[in-house]
């Protein structure tokens, strides 16, 4: 699905990713944990195609293609989805219109005809239920005036609608209370069950999320590199001992 080799990236001349390796196979869920500033979100943004980040070395292969050659919209159409850490407000852009435009752009890429308005409206009502999203929100501008929890749920709602092959969740859990966290996690788990080939990269600061979205692999990221990988028990170890123990073992 995704194969990252020795990836190096910087922003405004500041080196953030310093040789990162990661392979995700179809159907796997990987979690990346790390302190603030370790480069977790940079990785998400680089994979999403944010132009402000400059890739200075390494390679990223996504479903057999060179991901770094693709524009952000091409990545999305090929099946990559990035749930934003800070979902963006789009005043004056209605959610329903925004989603239909995105949905049909992806269909067009697959050589399918655009979905008629009525059928599409049924589809989004259905997906909104999955995320317990107030249907009234669908009549509003994208994320405008949404609470923090509503914004994050809206991200997973879009993910459910666009049915990507690889889902990247960039600190989707941060700032969520336990109820919202459960809703978001159950939405993600439904997507996992729906398609056994679908892969997930869950970037988080807190172990708590991983109680709900149980990963197959956990990676610890420090200073732009993955310093330790393991099974889901690694998250618990991290919770117990803290990041400093890994930093120390790295130094020694």
């Amino acid at each position: 699905m995704l194969n990252i080799k020795d990836l190096k990236a910087e922003i405004d001349g500041k080196k953030i990713l310093k040789g990162l390796n990661l392979e995700i196979k179809p159907g796997e869920t990987h979690a990346i944990m790390g302190v603030n500033g370790s480069g977790k979100s940079t990785l998400a943004n680089v994979l999403g195609g944010r132009e402000e980040y400059e890739v200075t070395g390494g390679s990223v292969e996504f479903l057999g293609q060179n991901l770094l050659d693709l524009d952000p919209e091409e990545r999305a159409r090929e099946g990559l989805f990035l749930a934003f850490q800070y979902p963006v407000e789009l005043p004056g852009v209605l959610i329903s219109y925004f989603l239909r435009t995105a949905y049909n752009a992806i269909r067009e890429h697959r050589g399918e005809a655009p979905m008629p308005v009525r059928e599409f409206s049924k589809l989004i009502q259905e997906k909104a239920k999955l995320l317990e999203l107030n249907p009234e929100l669908l009549q509003r501008s994208v994320n405008e005036g949404f609470s923090g929890g509503e914004k994050k749920r809206n991200e997973i709602f879009q993910m459910a609608l666009l049915e990507p092959k690889l889902c990247i969740l960039d600190e989707t859990d941060s700032g969520l209370d336990i109820d919202a966290l459960q809703v978001v996690s159950s939405g993600v788990n439904t997507l996992r069950e729906q398609d056994p080939e679908r892969s997930f990269l869950v970037i988080t600061h807190y172990q708590r999320l991983l109680n709900y979205i149980v990963p197959d692999y956990v990676h610890v990221m420090i200073d732009g590199r993955i310093v330790k990988s393991g099974g889901k028990e690694l998250a618990l170890e991290l919770e117990e001992k803290g990041y400093s123990s890994f930093q120390q073992s790295l130094a020694s």
């Binding site: 999403g48 132009e51 952000p72 999305a76 005043p91 435009t101 879009q158």
Partner: protein, 445 residues
Amino acid sequence: MTQQESETPWYESSFELLETLVGDDQSAEIEAIRTKAHQDFLKIGLPKSKTEDWKYTDIRELRTRQFSLADKGVVSQVDDAARKSKTIADISELSLQTVDGFVANNLDALRALLPKGVILSTLREAFANRDSGLLELYREHFGQIATTENDFVVAFNTSFFQDVLIVHVPAGAQVEQPLYIQHIASGLQQSTATFPRILCVVEAGAKLALVEHFATLTSEGGFTASVTELVVGDNAEVSHYQLGLESDDHIRISRLASKQGRDARVRFHSSTFGGQLVRNEVCPTLTGVNGFTGLYGISVLSGNQHVDNHTVLDHSVPHCESDERYKGIYDGKSEGVFCGTIIVREDAQKTNAIQNNAAVLLSDRATVNTKPQLKIWADDVKCTHGATVGQLDQVQLFYLRSRGIGEKDARNLLLRAFAGEVTQEIELDALRSAIEQMVVDKLSL
């Protein structure tokens, strides 16, 4: 060119050529008004680059280029189909055209559609019919809000106007369909100068929406200086929509002036897509308590186009509210100017005035000059103003693209949403849809 500049400019030599507007025995009245206006006009002269109000809009071309006055004979050379070729469908049955400043329709058919007591006439007709009631209305109001002293635009129009369209809505009358006026520049003569003029009196409790749509039939450049006066009675409701769709070599200066009584609600909306140089001047005065004035504008320009939205909003009485929002999208080498003055006079306590101006530049060569001016003499008021100029938000653009939406579609979606904050203030559905489509069409060029 230097040789030409030393010659007498066209507007001085043309004044002698003006035809009388009404019959010989009545002409003295109009001639006196025009002559006075022309004297005022010559005294003021064309604004120079040093003139503060015209600092960012250069109209020296009006002096160096030769324009000529419209010939009434031209009107009959533009057939019905051509005259109506610019009409936007479904806006109103109350649709009429001026051609080069002359009202071209037989107004009887339109009068039949108007509620009882509403008058739609031309000044020529009023004189020809010796309609004393209408002439009295004209004498009471014409040139009262838009005065020629020290006012270049009004003096220019009043020197040369060829007719006046008069609308009178009596107390309580509700005109449900908008009055849709298309000002057509025929382009049949070279560089024609036209001077449309409207006087609209809406009495207490009455309602009217007016649409003024400026269009050109050819790409033959011309010049238009229009003036519209709106007298709005107590608790009346008036909306004025202005739409600029001229060809890219037309110059227009439009003045909208209004005064409104207590509890009256007046809204102005200007949309500018066409023209080489367009100056929309909107000058409302709130003269009765508890009034509301809305001032809105959207401009989408490209190439070498220039628009100047110039507003002077005068709060002269207490407890009034105003909402002013202008937006512009500028591509190519186009230029946008916004100069918004809000005056809050000493008596105008409890005024609540909002002004906002925002522009998006799509090209490195496009420019915007924005100048908010608040002149506040009262001490218990709420006035806010803000101006933003910038490029499209890159994070918003990335968000849309990350969902599979192509760059161009994403950009247009954001720009439409940006414009939408002012186009949504258009209360006429057919007009709003048409203008929203124009935003999209202009951006996809």
